[in-house]
């Protein structure tokens, strides 16, 4: 996890920077162009180019390696120890590719849907894409925070300007909740920074001031400091994820925001990514200590989300609560702190990026046809739209975690990991699977099967080529991961391995460091700090 492979050696040019900022450049380009038609064309081109550019990340990734790859590192604000440091490892690489792919799909989807303020929409979308990519590739905490926070602006506009009913409330709620979490996260970052500074200045390490993840990972921390860090980072990620007590914005936003925003929010798991990327490695002991709490929160999320979803009459609300439930799974997996759990959590995040996003796309398809998503309004759609019904079913199966689909792999690994942590967690988790199957299948049964009860549903178009172009890749991926997951697993294994090692080894390592330092230089961390100069 500490090694780095520089992009210069691996691929020869600054690939990550290019991938990250290409959408932003596209946004600027679109701003400069007044014509809507051209804006679509350019938007599509940029999204496609970005996706294509990100593919080398996947294919040229060094397998089973814990190292950071495609790393670029430039000094930025040396006086504060802030640098431009980007790179991907097994944890983040798949997210980058997923993001660019979803970005492309969203552009494809939107072209048929969005009619007002097209340029603004595309600009917001691309800006959002850049910030999300930035979050995934940043290895400097300030850089990470920069992207994390800037994400709010385009998100806000996406929801506020292109959302549906209740968007005013939803947009402001989303922004406020997220910001509240992230400013608290900033405190955590600051604590890390100060901790590193203290450690580095005592041991005369260079650089003394650093927000660099690599440097921070080298800094040993006492348990109570770790707890502080963990708690503050937790707020940031938990609000974003969202983990259950902090979830209330999610249904509002998913309901009121545009489909594209729902796809992004539900599909790209920034919050849980943050846990894996930062919380676990930076505060391993604290993570272990927090395991029961987090597991219980995860379980509550699973069951609560599933239970509420079961009662929803609106498909998007259903999806929103199912998302919460799924995120509970991911949390369950990650915080089991077992190898399989983390692995499963990661792969499940990718899976959700495909399936939940797919579900939302389909919700969008339905919405475009009927302008409603109330389940009772549908029924017997399979008759008129066999293609839609089929693809929909596949995605729903994936979401339920039927074997052969990607969902199975993820859920299996998660539950396996949870069982390893404690059988109670695993057993409770399984309950969620059943509930999940129940609400999705019940929905499918009500909406797609059965008789056509509403005349409005009689003459609906089946999937258009554009919609097929969205559905097909998703379904392909579902089966690919479900049937042959090893390319994906090989890409994440190295990092997961390293993380797992760190989580378990640091127990001894930190203990050793403390005993080593206790007599010598490092004062007990409980006494606070010196003046940083």
């Amino acid at each position: 996890m500490m090694q780095e492979m520089f992009a210069a050696q691996q691929i020869g040019f600054s690939l990550l920077t290019l991938v990250t900022f290409l959408p932003l450049a596209g946004a600027v380009l679109i701003w400069a162009i007044r014509d809507t038609g051209w804006a679509w064309r350019i938007g599509l081109g940029v999204a496609a180019a970005d996706f294509l550019l990100s593919l080398p990340l996947f294919f040229m990734f060094t397998l089973d390696s814990a190292a950071m790859q495609f790393v670029e590192h430039y000094s930025w604000i040396p006086s504060l120890g802030i640098s431009y440091h980007v790179g991907v490892d097994g944890i983040s690489m798949l997210f980058v590719v997923l993001t660019t792919m979803l970005g492309l799909l969203i552009v494809v989807y939107s072209q048929g849907v969005i009619t007002g303020r097209v340029r603004g929409y595309l600009m917001a979308l691309f800006a959002l894409q850049t910030t999300m990519l930035g979050v995934f590739v940043s290895l400097d905490l300030v850089l990470f925070f920069l992207f994390w926070e800037l994400m709010l602006i385009p998100s806000y506009f996406m929801i506020r300007l292109w959302g549906g009913e209740g968007r005013e409330y939803a947009s402001i709620k989303y922004v406020l909740y997220t910001l509240l979490g992230s400013v608290l996260m900033l405190v955590g970052i600051v604590i890390l920074y100060l901790q590193h500074y203290r450690f580095a200045s005592i041991h005369h390490l260079s650089p003394a001031l650093s927000f660099d993840l690599m440097d921070l990972l080298r800094t040993p921390m006492a348990l109570d400091v770790q707890m502080l860090v963990f708690v503050f980072l937790f707020f940031g990620f938990a609000f974003k994820t969202p983990i259950v007590p902090f979830h209330t914005w999610m249904p509002d936003v998913l309901l009121a925001g545009p489909i594209a925003m729902s796809v992004i929010l539900a599909g790209i798991k920034l919050g849980t990514f943050g846990f894996v990327r930062f919380s676990l490695p930076l505060a391993p002991d604290a993570s272990r200590a927090a395991l029961p709490v987090m597991m219980v929160l995860g379980l509550i999320g699973i069951l609560y989300g599933a239970y509420i979803a079961l009662m929803q009459a609106d498909f998007r609300k259903l999806l929103a609560y199912s998302s919460i439930s799924h995120l509970g799974y991911v949390a369950l997996g990650i915080f089991a702190l077992t190898y399989q759990g983390i692995q499963g959590g990661l792969i499940q995040m990718i899976n959700l990026g495909i399936t939940t996003a797919g579900l939302f796309f389909f919700a969008g398809f339905l919405w475009n046809r009927r302008q409603t998503l109330t389940i009772a309004e549908f029924g017997g759609l399979a008759k008129g739209m066999p293609l839609l019904a089929t693809f929909f079913l596949i995605i729903i199966f994936s979401s339920i975690g039927l074997p052969g689909t990607n969902g199975f792999i993820g859920e299996f690994l998660i539950l396996f990991g949870a069982f390893k942590a404690h059988w109670v967690y695993g057993a409770s988790g399984v309950l969620g699977v059943i509930l999940g199957a129940a609400y999705l299948l019940w929905f499918y049964e009500r909406a797609i099967f059965g008789k056509v009860t509403k005349p409005a549903n009689e003459n609906l178009r089946d999937l258009s080529p554009r919609e097929l172009a969205i559905a097909l890749p998703l379904v392909a991926l579902i089966f690919w991961i479900g049937v042959y997951p090893s390319p994906f697993l090989h890409r994440i294994n190295g990092s997961v391995d390293a993380l797992y090692m760190r989580l378990n080894r640091t127990a001894t390592m930190a203990a050793g460091l403390q005993t080593e330092a206790a007599g010598a230089v490092v004062p007990p961390a409980t006494t606070g700090y010196e003046e940083p100069r």
Binding site: L80, E168, V183, V187, V190, P532
Partner: protein, 528 residues
């Protein structure tokens, strides 16, 4: 290097010279008047940009010194010099002045007088930042307060509460001092002037006590330094508190803030910009320059007080801002809330937080300058600042809307703006001594976002009242230039703050060394 020798004089006196020239120009010739104002402020601006890069932060200390005997009998000399703390503030002042000239370009009623007052206001503000003589520091300090009176009174506007007030007898009664929401512009101006003058004389008492107490018969800040031990502990605490509360009233710190939102609301846009941007920082700056610099040990003893009060500032200002209907009230309270961060940074007494505090002063100047400029622009177009009666203006003024987003980002302290860097440093520095306050301050950021978003939505989104059909976007050059300058400054220094950080820390370092060594010396004395 004659330019360097007189650089500060140029920065200080260019606007002032502009004002004097304007006195002799006919008020009828509007273009000429505006041009003179713009040119003189541009000279100052350009020179202060040069100052930033010419400042040798490796050497630190006070630079670009200029000293002229002024009155030997009183021990006063006209002594100019800047250190790292003043450089950014000088830049902010001249930048906001330059921007303010353009923001107020459309003023036609007695424009000449307006510019004269504005230029005097700005040059006096700069004067505080560059004075190394305690007398002149106060001289310019007080001088900067007074132009606010006519600027608010003549070119300002009544607050909404005032216009809605039916009871005319109550309107202009002396009770205006205790009336915080509905003041006419005259009384807003009066209140502001009186409060600030009251603060100033409190500080003046502290200054005089210092002057007399050292017995050096000089107001020279450099010579006065290091004589703290001549005072009894009670006396120096008293002096410090006088200085602190005197200067903090302009900042404005929480219990002394009531003049500020009213003043902001009544002021024309350019004045609000300067007021919130740089005038309020006079308080922090003077506390650092006088209180911290002359009384390091006392500062250490009382820093906790600042940390407590600033939290009230942050939270109170934020919450009140949330419930305002008037755009300028929102920004005004937000400013007074944000001043709390600077105080927090100052209270922590370490390198990173102090540097952050000073950087934040600069950052806030730009951010709030932008917001006020835009609030002023909207007001000029619609003649109302009432948020509920506005809405949907985004379609009519996309540029302003875009700029507002950036101003909002900056004000909240989102990364990429220089505010973020300042905020980050303040938090980093203050976490260790004041963890609770830091967390509360961080929550304050979220509150900031809440009320600014609310205002943003109220102004630019939603349904547009048909009566605003006539409004138009910012004109290409005159209206956009000031905003673009501020946006550029905010983003540029947000992405490349290194120069600033070096410069500021070179100025902060000696002050902190004094503070920490003073404690050590006192401890050693106490022990010995």
């Amino acid at each position: 290097m004659t330019l360097d020798q007189h650089l500060l004089s140029i920065i200080l006196f260019a606007p002032f010279a502009g004002a004097i020239i304007l006195i002799f120009v006919s008020g009828e010739r509007l273009t000429l008047v505006r041009t003179i104002a713009a040119v003189s402020s541009f000279i100052s601006f350009a020179a202060s940009v040069y100052l930033l890069y010419a400042f040798d932060y490796g050497r630190g200390g006070f630079q670009f010194l200029e000293q002229y005997e002024w009155s030997k009998d009183l021990g006063i000399s006209f002594f100019l010099g800047v250190d790292g703390v003043s450089v950014p503030l000088v830049l902010a002042s001249s930048l906001l002045l330059f921007a303010g000239i353009f923001v107020s370009w459309h003023i036609e009623d007695r424009a000449r007088e307006f510019y004269i007052f504005l230029l005097i206001l700005a040059s006096a503000t700069i004067g505080v930042y560059v004075s190394l003589d305690l007398f002149f520091l106060y001289f310019f300090y007080e001088m900067s307060v007074l132009p606010m009176y006519p600027l608010l009174g003549v070119w300002g506007s009544h607050t909404k509460g005032y216009l809605e007030m039916k009871d005319t007898a109550k309107r202009d009664s002396l009770a205006f001092i205790f009336n915080f929401a509905s003041n006419s512009k005259e009384y807003a101006a009066m209140k502001l002037t009186l409060f600030l003058s009251a603060g100033a004389v409190v500080a003046l008492l502290g200054i005089l006590l210092t002057y007399v107490g050292t017995g050096l018969h000089t107001f020279n800040l450099i010579e006065l330094q290091g004589h703290e031990q001549q005072f009894t502990p009670f006396l120096r605490s008293a002096i410090w508190l006088l200085l602190f509360f005197g200067f903090a009233s302009i900042a404005p710190l929480w219990p002394m803030h009531s003049w500020s939102p009213v003043g902001h609301a009544a002021a024309p846009a350019a004045v609000s910009m300067l007021h919130a941007g740089v005038l309020m920082k006079l308080g922090h700056f003077s506390i650092i320059r006088v209180g911290y610099w002359l009384f390091p040990q006392t500062t250490k003893e009382w820093a906790g007080l600042i940390a407590i009060l600033c939290v009230f500032s942050i939270i109170y200002g934020g919450l009140v801002a949330f419930f305002q209907r008037d755009t300028k009230y929102v920004i005004g309270y937000s400013s007074s809330s944000h001043m709390g961060y600077i105080f927090l940074g100052m209270a922590a007494l370490n390198m990173i937080s102090m540097t952050g505090a000073v950087l934040y002063m600069f950052a806030h100047a730009l951010a709030t300058g932008m917001l006020f400029a835009m609030a002023g622009f909207v007001y000029d177009q619609t003649h109302t600042r009432d948020i509920p009666s506005l809405g949907g203006l985004g379609r009519k003024m996309p540029f302003i809307m875009g700029a507002f987003v950036i101003g909002l980002m900056a004000s909240v302290g989102l990364p990429g703006t220089v505010n973020f860097i300042g905020e980050l440093m303040v938090l980093a520095g203050s976490w260790e001594p004041y963890p609770v306050q830091t967390v509360i301050a961080v929550v304050g950021i979220a509150i900031t976002l809440a009320y600014l978003m609310r205002m943003f939505m109220g102004l630019f989104l939603g349904e547009m009242d048909p009566k605003w059909a006539h409004v138009h976007d910012a004109s290409p050059i005159i209206d956009r230039l000031p905003l673009l300058i501020m946006i550029f400054g905010s983003l540029y220094f947000g992405l490349f703050p290194t120069q600033f950080i070096h410069v500021i820390s070179s100025g902060v370092q000696p002050i902190l060394e004094q503070i920490h060594s003073a404690g050590a010396v006192a401890a050693a004395r106490g022990g010995g």
